[in-house]
């Protein structure tokens, strides 16, 4: 709406043009003299994050409270990003609206609970290292299980409805219901507590501000996932193939690459990321319900709509905005807290109707 559409890169804030690969000697020098319009990085959406934080500072008043809220918001945003990143990959590359994504999140969380249970020795140890080791194992298993379920889900449920959005919505919602009932069959219908390991509870003090340890860890994990995704998409040939496959699947196949196989890989990866996000979310909430997948589903769809339906960078910024907004509004005006995400989505879409970083479609 407001900016030149060419300025908006699809995959990530890293510009599609410059990302990727180094220049052979000589070519770069020759490029300098010519006057093709350059694609510029579109940083405005990225600036929304610090902007929102700055706007909140005078409203919150106390500096230490603001730091606590901001870290909490960033942590929540990072966890939401991890959960939503898989969906954004699947939507961006495969154009599949997977409303069953919540299943992988819930499965991840329940598997983590099942894995952490027997490792009580490690989780009750006050040593943070031992705790982290246990959580790491739980994450690994959750990702494997969620990835495996994703593989079956793609084969049985998604494959017959490629290219048909309405059917995708209906059948993946059906898959979601089945997944939820399976969780009830295995773990029962009741709420199950998932306490944080001993050493991850409590806070670090930064001056007057208290920063919960787990939130700091969540920020780190989120940054690692985001960095890894940007690296794979922007700097590897697989990422190049994924970005090309989004634009013109037929041509990628004509160049001799099996796009189908790549799609399955992306779906499984997306599911595994949802499993990882499920572990993070479960430990954040500290209790699990079979319905948690469906609850988070709404949040992640808001995030990927804000982000631009399929853009990794947009999803990242959208998730941080959602996290910060929820925490600031929760503190300032708790009564409208539930409404804050919808408000954010409305505002973003009024400004950029296609989301922060719209993914170009044919």
């Amino acid at each position: 709406m407001s900016a030149d559409p060419r300025n908006r890169t699809g995959a990530a804030p890293a510009p599609a043009g410059a990302a990727g690969v180094a220049t052979p000697a000589g070519a770069a020098g020759a490029a300098a003299g010519d006057a093709l319009p350059q694609t510029r990085r579109d940083l405005v959406p990225l600036l929304l994050v610090p902007l929102l934080a700055l706007v909140a500072l005078p409203l919150v008043g106390s500096g230490s409270t603001w730091v606590t809220l901001t870290v909490a918001g960033l942590a929540m945003g990072m966890i939401v990003f991890i959960i939503a990143s898989g969906l954004t990959l699947v939507f961006g590359l495969m154009d599949v609206l997977n409303f069953g994504h919540g299943v992988f999140i819930a499965m991840g969380a329940f598997v983590a609970m099942a894995v952490l249970g027997p490792m009580a020795g490690l989780t009750t140890s006050p040593s943070m290292l031992a705790n982290l080791a246990a959580v790491f194992v739980a994450m690994l298993v959750a990702m494997l299980v969620a990835g495996a379920i994703g593989w079956v889900f793609e084969r049985l449920i998604v494959r017959p409805v490629y290219g048909q959005h309405l059917k995708q919505i209906l059948i993946t919602m059906g898959g979601m219901i089945i997944g939820e009932e399976m969780i009830k069959v295995i773990w029962g219908p009741d709420q199950i507590p998932l306490p944080l390991p001993q050493g991850l509870r409590g806070s670090w003090l930064l001056g007057d501000a208290a920063v919960e340890k787990y939130r700091a860890i969540a920020v780190v994990v989120g940054l690692v996932v985001f960095g890894a995704m940007l690296w794979v998409l922007g700097r590897t040939k697989i990422g190049l193939l994924i970005r090309a496959g989004v634009q013109d699947r037929e041509m990628v196949e004509s160049l001799g690459y099996r796009v189908r196989r790549m799609f399955v890989g992306v779906f499984v990866t997306g599911s595994a990321l949802a499993g990882l996000g499920g572990v993070m979310w479960g430990l954040y909430q500290q209790n699990l319900t079979p319905q948690m997948g469906a609850q988070v589903n709404i949040l992640i769809f808001i995030v990927i709509i804000i982000g631009g339906l399929g853009s990794t960078g947009g999803c990242f910024v959208g998730a941080l905005l959602v996290g910060l907004m929820a925490n600031y509004i929760g503190f300032l005006a708790p009564k409208v807290a539930l409404f804050s995400n919808i408000l954010l989505m409305v505002l973003v879409l009024l400004w950029r109707p296609q989301g922060l970083y719209p993914v170009a479609r044919r």
Partner: protein, 266 residues
């Protein structure tokens, strides 16, 4: 037209045992029928593409030229008939497998990845290379010589190139690695005369290097300068096969096969 060593290996891959025989058919279509949905487009196409030669596929709009190329590529599946490449049937294979046997395809819309840079487009076409550095430097220099714009805009998004430059990129992608057969759909379409000259000289170099090319073309003036052999299609069939020189000489035949509109291009 002065490159030496780089040109020589253009048409050579493992798949060209037939090419050694010189002139035997590298690609052979026999009685190929293709349906697109409810429409019956190809009605028994018989076509031989001799190794080491440039074969022109001519015909009016809607004759089935593009569908023939897409059927060879596996983008449409033939409903009857055989498609043989290098002596083996490829009729039922998926597109990636067909491409991996050594066929490059330049579609009518060029299939450029607009959001990716020129070098990223090239890297995708170079299946054997994981990074740009791994692309055969000799070939790359040759391509830069053929199409200097590729070097100049190496780091630019391909979507910002002009129509002619996009077409150059599309052809450059098809030759970045040696391929046994190159299918090209209307490379002269919508291009300025100077760029058409540029394309012509590039194709002549490819020919000189022994590449096997199947070229769909509407522009007869362009076609006559390149073709060794020619096939003319009408209504989903090949209605004439022969040497290009023969057709270029015989105006009455041109009239009959291609109509006045083709003559008007000259």
């Amino acid at each position: 037209m002065t490159t030496g060593a780089a040109m020589r290996d253009v048409g050579t891959t493992g798949a060209t045992s037939a090419a050694a025989a010189g002139g035997s058919a590298l690609l052979r279509l026999a009685g190929v029928h293709t349906h697109i949905g409810a429409y019956h487009i190809l009605h028994g196409v018989d076509l031989d593409v001799p190794a080491g030669r440039t074969t022109l596929l001519l015909g009016r709009n809607g004759a089935g030229k593009t569908t023939t190329l897409r059927t060879v590529m596996g983008l449409w599946k033939p409903s009857a008939g055989t498609v043989e490449f290098d002596g083996r049937s490829i009729g039922g294979l998926d597109t990636p497998e067909i491409a991996q046997r050594g066929i490059a395809y330049v579609p009518e819309n060029m299939g450029i990845f607009a959001d990716l840079s020129v070098q990223e487009n090239m890297l995708l076409a170079a299946r054997g290379a994981r990074t740009v550095e791994a692309i055969d430097g000799e070939r790359l220099r040759w391509i830069f010589e053929l199409f200097p714009a590729m070097k100049r805009f190496w780091n630019h998004p391909a979507g910002l190139l002009s129509g002619g430059q996009k077409q150059m990129l599309a052809v450059a992608r098809a030759i970045v690695e040696p391929r046994a057969l190159i299918l090209i759909d209307e490379p002269s379409k919508g291009l300025a005369p100077s760029i058409i000259q540029n394309m012509l000289s590039a194709f002549r170099q490819l020919k000189a290097a022994g590449a096997t090319i199947l070229l769909v073309e509407q522009n007869f003036n362009f076609a006559r300068q390149l073709g060794d052999t020619v096939a003319v299609m009408d209504d989903g069939r090949v209605v004439h096969r022969g040497a290009m020189a023969e057709l270029a000489e015989d105006e009455a035949l041109q009239q009959r096969l291609l109509g006045l509109s083709m003559g008007a291009h000259q």
